[in-house]
Symmetry: C2
Subunit: 84 residues, 2 copies
């Protein structure tokens, strides 16, 4: 595997990990008042497109990172819409 | 330009735009109590690595999006460290 893929995996690990506390907090507290719906919508759709971009460029680091972040964002978005 | 680059630019536009409200809010309010330092550190370093990954893969959409997000994250991080 090329060295550059390691950078991709490291980047993906960090930015995906960064979302975990927020997703867990929302999941546990069911409180989403402080979370902007606009932010959640932009990020959810944005990381989905990054996933497609990674797929088209055969970039596994991008697909894994953005795939997981997409799921985390969906959790946040669904809770935001349900619990307002 | 290949169609796939348009997806990259759209993805970058959305995920970068998503950071703007947060960065502006911090810049105006100088309040960062609700922002996790860990999140800010992980994201700042993570998007920097995505920038390097984009550079190594000659992906302009990734370089532009992660370059701007990196600057926005630096603003949030500096304010977080200064105003606690």
């Amino acid at each position: 595997m090329q060295e550059i893929e390691y950078i991709g995996y490291a980047a993906g690990f960090l930015t995906t990990l960064a979302f975990l506390p927020q997703a867990l907090k929302v999941f546990r507290s069911k409180k989403t008042r402080d979370i902007s719906l606009l932010w959640a919508l932009l990020m959810t759709f944005g990381v989905f497109l990054w996933f497609c971009y990674g797929y088209a460029n055969h970039s596994l680091p991008m697909m894994i990172a953005n795939g997981i972040t997409f799921v985390l964002m969906l959790v946040i978005l669904v809770f935001k819409l349900r619990f307002k």
